[in-house]
Subunit: 454 residues, 2 copies
């Protein structure tokens, strides 16, 4: 097989079973997002290059796929377009362009692929879908609570019984770093090191902190405090109390802890209740967050199922004035990986191409076979027609291979007598029914095989 | 506004109302395609450059968006990837890569965007969606009939009452050109000129034929024959008879006419019945067609709503052996343009963000407001929560602007008494109900306003 029959590196084809599983998750995500009052938005796959450059930091810039100028400029090798790197910068652009028509509190969801020229690895692709919700225009913590509730409801309805929602706050991080004695000019370094805690463990983080010039005393104090805290996992009140006492006397830090407390209180009784873990070690990579930061995680997946936070300065960047915003992004690929490993897909997500096949006796009866298929489709069934005359045995074998539930065949005898033979592929049993009752009888066979007719 | 707040040239943002209209059409298309036994396939947005180059002719090659190599090669300006130009070449690649696992008669649908660096114009974009169905593996004309039926059923269910399905055959075209005396070496030129007939009229086609070196006698004979035929519009039998007599004695042409006749016969009684117009002037641009060619059109749209045909040599190109195939592609953007101009969208496609808004009295009652929203959502409603305390008048005004149907508010009095005020935004009437009955009562208000609850 030539290399040109392979998809590009880091991308995948989704065959029918894959698409059905993806669609099952996307439909559920969309349904929950809509119940929470979010509206759909879609943006183009590519943007003007200048819209994306400089928005994702040095590392992000490097991962942007750039598109060559067309026409006479092609030979120059210059790029003027770039593939969408995330769904947040396009949202900021939309917020600027349609500022006069969008509602004051614009709540949008967007479920589309993004592209990053990352090194492909297990579960990491160059094309992957994000399922984002963002609420613009309000600084109220009701927004954070609603986002967490929506994410929790999605994961609960998908069948995740063991997820947790890690919650932290950028200002709490800053106050914490101040409290353990790390000077402001080392904060960015400290957060980069902290971001790796889950992957590399506390000792390696401590080592990196020292390499990055953080004094041993401050680093040790911080690691000891974090180590003590991580034993508090299931108890947001306990973690909040420890955090509150650490940042005491630092107004921004105290306000951040109060905000976290408020988000926990607003989540009581809802889908996020009992799921939230206050996690002062949660850093989130992106530098644009300004308030609460959050992440959804399950024990058997390194990394997160999704994450987000408040970013009050990004959305207004194309407008020149700040617009408060808070968002959460679920990673479709990671959700699918865990669901596949755990066998979490319901039977409905695995249904085959069709329930019914109409066999083709001979050329002369083809029009009758198509008319039969029409009746079956009109009754709501998904129906394949064997496209050419062939031995009945071969046609039944094909239907078995395709896992069709029922096959209808009108041979010479049946056509003369105005009947149709219906074979139940699960039981192997055959019945002969009048042609006029064929659709009804096929539906009854499907009910017998335990399949729902839509 | 800086240019960076605009989407890239030839692309569009889809705001919530746009997405809902698009989704309405896509859902219906998908439903019909599935009833016909087609299965979903999705392929990556970009392919290896070599997979796409040389597949679309000189003009097509020029319109492919190429993606720069990443990393150290970026400075070279070389491209190694390209955005999908259509959904057919990716299907051919998939057919090669998964040949051992795909069914013998692989019937797939694919609804995804494609990208072409075309000059943008009214209704012509650089990013647009195609809704393709293709059936691989059979040369039976049952396939053509099923494709036409599926396309006709989509258009009928969308509400198009006046579409026609233009049908021709590549071999009939060849025999026709032979019959009027155009030599084989002029056939390609003749078809290029013919392809413009709808746009420029018969006189301009005749002029172009002469410019392209077709003898006046042959050109005149052909144009006269076509002119006579175009009066036969509603009558496939008449057109078939004329075509049959023109190509008489040319076996390939006679077989082609018989095939067209067979497709018409197989369509009797189905959704395509009465829609098919045998149109010997239909050429279709792409050179890869080998058999039937077809197009769906409405009178008020220049160009087609979709088209397709049989192409028995393309799918096997990555395999080195021919695989018969026939496909039909509906153009989502064109369907949407006509539906918008004619006002064909049902109310369900224009529903707003949410049916219900929960107002927020003060910070202290925020948790109760979220609990109320939770109950409403659990009963199936789409619910927005006003995110911050504000004057009730302002909140009601916001709800009116957003066209929400019902607003629920629990102020101090209501909370003391365990009740909720429900305001019907259509009638302006307010009722006070016990908190425990709030969801039920809100649902009842929605029924009154004539909206269905999902």
């Amino acid at each position: 097989m030539s290399s040109s029959s392979l998809p590009a590196r880091g991308t995948r084809d989704f065959l029918p079973d894959d698409v059905r599983r993806r669609e099952y998750v996307v439909r559920l995500v969309r349904d929950v997002y809509e119940r929470y009052g979010f509206e759909p938005l879609e943006t183009p796959a590519f943007e003007n290059l200048e819209t994306l450059t400089g928005k994702y930091g040095e590392e992000g810039n490097r991962l942007i796929f750039k598109i060559l100028k067309r026409g006479e400029h092609e030979a120059s090798g210059a790029a003027d377009l770039a593939l969408r790197y995330d769904l947040t910068v396009p949202l900021a652009r939309v917020a600027a362009q349609y500022q006069s028509t969008l509602p004051k509190f614009f709540k949008r969801y967007q479920i589309q692929p993004v592209w990053r020229a990352d090194r492909p690895a297990r579960g990491r692709f160059r094309e992957f879908y994000q399922c984002d919700i963002d609420a613009l225009g309000s600084t109220s913590l009701v927004v954070e609570a609603e986002l967490l509730a929506a994410a929790a409801e999605v994961l609960t309805r998908l069948g995740f019984a063991d997820f947790e929602l890690r919650l932290n706050h950028r200002e709490a991080l800053t106050a914490m770093l101040e409290a353990v004695g790390i000077p402001p000019e080392r904060h960015a370094d400290a957060l980069v090191a902290l971001d790796k805690l889950d992957k590399v463990g506390i000792d390696r983080v401590a080592a990196e902190l020292r390499e990055r010039g953080v004094a041993a005393e401050a680093s040790d104090a911080w690691m000891e405090w974090l180590g003590g805290l991580r034993r508090d996992r299931p108890d947001p009140e306990g973690a909040l109390a420890r955090l509150r006492s650490l940042v005491a006397g630092r107004p921004a830090g105290e306000a951040a802890v109060a905000a976290l407390e408020r988000v926990v209180a607003l989540s009581a009784g809802g889908p996020a209740d009992g799921r939230i873990r206050i996690d002062p070690s949660l850093a989130r990579g992106l530098s644009y967050y300004t308030g609460a930061i959050m992440e959804a995680a399950v024990p058997d997946l390194a990394g997160s199922l999704g994450g987000g936070g408040r970013y009050d300065n990004l959305i207004g960047m194309f407008l020149g004035r700040p617009i408060p915003a808070c968002g959460f992004s679920l990673g479709l690929e990671r959700i699918l990986v865990v669901m596949a490993e755990r066998g979490m897909f319901p039977a409905a997500a695995a249904r085959g191409a069709a329930e019914v096949m109409v066999a083709l006796w001979d050329e002369a009866s083809a029009a009758d076979a198509l008319a039969l298929a029409r009746d079956l489709r009109a009754s709501g069934l998904r129906v394949d027609v064997y496209p050419e005359p062939d031995r009945p045995g071969k046609q039944f074998k094909y239907a078995a291979l395709r896992q069709y539930d029922v096959v209808l065949l009108a041979g010479e005898d049946e056509r003369r007598e105005g009947t149709v033979t219906i074979k139940n592929m699960r039981t192997g049993q055959q019945v002969i029914v009048p042609r006029a009752r064929a659709a009804e009888a096929a539906g009854a066979q499907l009910t017998q095989t335990g399949k729902d007719v839509e």
